[in-house]
């Protein structure tokens, strides 16, 4: 009688021991490590976006990110964890960015910052996030200074850097139009000067002769009409237009209305058909040249492209209020994909150190929305994910890529 009740117990003990023995190596291998903002169920990311203020047209990027992570979460999250993106308005004002980012880091305790937008806002938090050792990833700005792993090991940009872009224009001009008389309009800030530096570096010694006139505007200016007239008056036959969308549209329009017919290069920041060329007038935009590194949602050649179909399906299902003509929405999709890739690579080690390490080990990562032949690569000494681009010409309906995908070397 005394043995009978013991038996099942002994069995139980034995099987339990067996189970522990067989599981334990697995358990140790999977022992997850969590930094601030990460747990078995959630990964917390933070960002600031200009939902109000002068750059509010870019607010759509943050809205798309939220929709994208909702889709990821609906499909089970990343390695079983839901992504919680806390997206706050900074109105493109640096002091506000500092305040909001401090909230994200100190109060919400996010694992990483993702796609904080704009050069002045990011400049204001650059030192702070590196002091706090918070990954500051895939910034939505092309300033060259974001790729400086030696001095700022916690900050990594995303966009093709402004200097690389300027260099590509300069190299192309030197090759195809060496006797060009160049007029340049640029925004009087970090961004404008960065592209300008790329152009000047690219032109090299020839630059002094080729650039006949430069003009600037402030982001608070109502129009750039007077600058365009001054540039036209210089007798230039080539116009490099380094502007943000609102001013890009004005410049295209004014350059056309005033009868100036230069070879018109417009920087990628303002190459959106939806938010720049349609307001400026498509007929007035024919012949514009820019660089591209991702597919244009308005380009019929990608109409049946599987990646584009996937993106459109996403837009229809998760972000109906977003404009499917606006290239910013496609850009935001690629950056969200890249963030997901980094988080996937992290596996179960969700510490800030590992997030940064994985961000710096993107190997041949291909988003199908990038132009064919392009991929993203980073390393501990190379914090520039995008270093390739192709020139494109506007046909009146779409940007038609021409020439090869041009790579620029690693930046200093």
């Amino acid at each position: 009688m005394t043995i009978v009740p013991l038996r099942p117990l002994r069995w139980l003990a034995a099987s339990a021991a067996l189970a522990v023995a067989s599981l334990s190596p697995n358990v140790f291998a999977q022992a997850a490590k969590y930094g601030p903002g990460a747990s078995a169920t959630e990964i917390k990311l933070g960002q600031t976006m200009p939902y109000s203020g002068p750059a509010s047209a870019y607010g759509t990027i943050g809205k798309l990110h939220q929709a994208y992570f909702k889709m990821i979460n609906d499909n089970g999250g990343i390695n079983g964890r839901k992504v919680n993106l806390i997206s706050l308005d900074d109105g493109y004002s640096p002091p506000k960015t500092v305040e909001q980012v401090r909230r994200l880091v100190e109060q919400d305790e996010v694992l990483a910052l993702f796609q904080t937008l704009g050069t002045p806002p990011n400049s204001a938090i650059h030192k702070y996030v590196n002091g706090k050792k918070v990954p500051h990833l895939l910034l939505a700005t092309g300033a060259t200074k974001w790729g400086d792993p030696k001095n700022f090991p916690w900050t990594m940009g995303f966009n093709l850097s402004y200097q690389s872009e300027g260099e590509i224009y300069a190299k192309w001009l030197l090759k195809t139009k060496p006797d060009a008389k160049v007029a340049i309009l640029y925004q009087n800030d970090d961004y404008g000067k960065d592209v300008l530096k790329g152009v000047k570096d690219g032109l090299g010694a020839a630059g002094a002769k080729m650039i006949v006139k430069e003009a600037t505007y402030e982001v608070t200016d109502p129009t750039v009409d007077s600058q365009i007239i001054a540039l036209q008056g210089s007798g230039a036959d080539t116009f490099i237009n380094i502007t943000t969308p609102k001013f890009g549209a004005q410049a295209v329009r004014k350059a056309w209305d005033s009868g100036w017919k230069p070879l018109h290069i417009i920087n990628n920041v303002s190459a959106s058909v939806g938010s720049v060329l349609i307001p400026a007038g498509l007929d007035k935009s024919v012949g514009l040249v820019t660089v591209q590194y991702y597919k244009d949602p308005n380009d019929p050649q990608w109409k049946d492209d599987p990646a584009m179909l996937e993106w459109r399906a996403f837009m229809g299902r998760y972000y109906k209020e977003g404009d499917p003509k606006d290239a910013s929405n496609l850009y935001a999709y690629i950056t969200a994909q890249t963030m997901v890739q980094i988080l996937k690579q992290c596996g179960n080690d969700l510490t800030r150190e590992n997030v940064m390490k994985q961000a710096a080990s993107l190997k041949n990562f291909k988003s199908a929305l990038l132009l064919p032949g392009m991929s993203m690569n980073t390393s501990p000494t190379d914090f520039f994910p995008i270093q390739q681009a192709q020139l494109a010409k506007f046909t009146g309906q779409l940007w038609q890529g021409f020439g090869d995908v041009i790579s620029t070397g690693a930046q200093p």
Binding site: Y51, S52, K63, S87, L88, D89, Y92, S93, P94, P95, K96, V98, E99, R102, R103, V105, E106, Q107, P120, S123, A124, H126, K127, Y128, N188, D189, D190, K193, E218, V219, T220
Partner: protein, 334 residues
Amino acid sequence: METTAAPLTMPAAPAGVDAARRRRHLIGVAILLVAACVLPFLVGNYRVFQLTLVLAYSIALLGLNMLTGYNGQISLGHGAFYAIGAYTAAILMDKFGMPYWMTIPIAGAVCLIAGFLFGLPALRLEGLYLALATFALGVAMPQILKHKSLEQWTGGVQGIVIVKPEAPEGLGLSQDQWLYFFTLAWVVLMFFIGWNLLRGRIGRAMVAIRDQPVAAQAMGVNTSLVKSLTFGVSALYTGVAGALGSIAIQFVAPDSFNIFLSITLVVGVVIGGLASISGAIYGAFFIQFIPNVADQISKAAPWAIYGIFLLAFMYAMPTGVAGFVRILRARLRR
């Protein structure tokens, strides 16, 4: 302006009542100070940082209130003085290696001179015309700061990054807490000076100029001197606030001081209560926290929500929060 002006000269009261009121006042201030000293130990560093900004704003609002509330001159360009103060502190620290605490009085002095000089010609302008002249200053300031000739000092569009001051050793305070107390000390000093200034002869002269400029002149008030001095002192306060704010934010850039800052300061003064010293503190809380609340309510239209808040405040408290508090207190006493 006249309708919202608070009575500054108290109705004659028996000496005993006056002393009792004074004592109550002092007790109130003491309680407030104790609360202000305890607060940073109860909340996290991020909140302490926000409260530091509230303190800095309250100094700026007190300065603007002297000009607008007490003296009746409208300025839509005080963001420019805030910027001058901030840049003075930043440049002194960045280019001359000056310790942060020394930069505050210098920032104030620079703004006093700038404000006085701007106030002299502005004297010829009354009411809305002065508002426009100061508006011009506020609009121009970000571009002046970006100008090439100043770039070697101001850092141009890139701005200047400021190193955050360390708390003195042995106090056991975090950097943010230390900065909070440092700012609080300035608040106490500036409010004490402001209180003495506004309750005395000069304060009465300022109000007299606002309400009855001809009568003030007839009584021997040097209107032009008082007006431009008020402008200068007001700029001094705003400059001190700008310097304190920039040390807390650790960064100055032209984009930080756009015209919206000037408008925000006016909003703070009016919401807090014109011609009221305590109003500066209420106003500072409003301009610091209401935009965040609005953002939390609606991402799509935060400024529409902000507008609703503004309308609600103006409708419910037409004499500002300070006026509302005053009415409440009078009711309770009855």
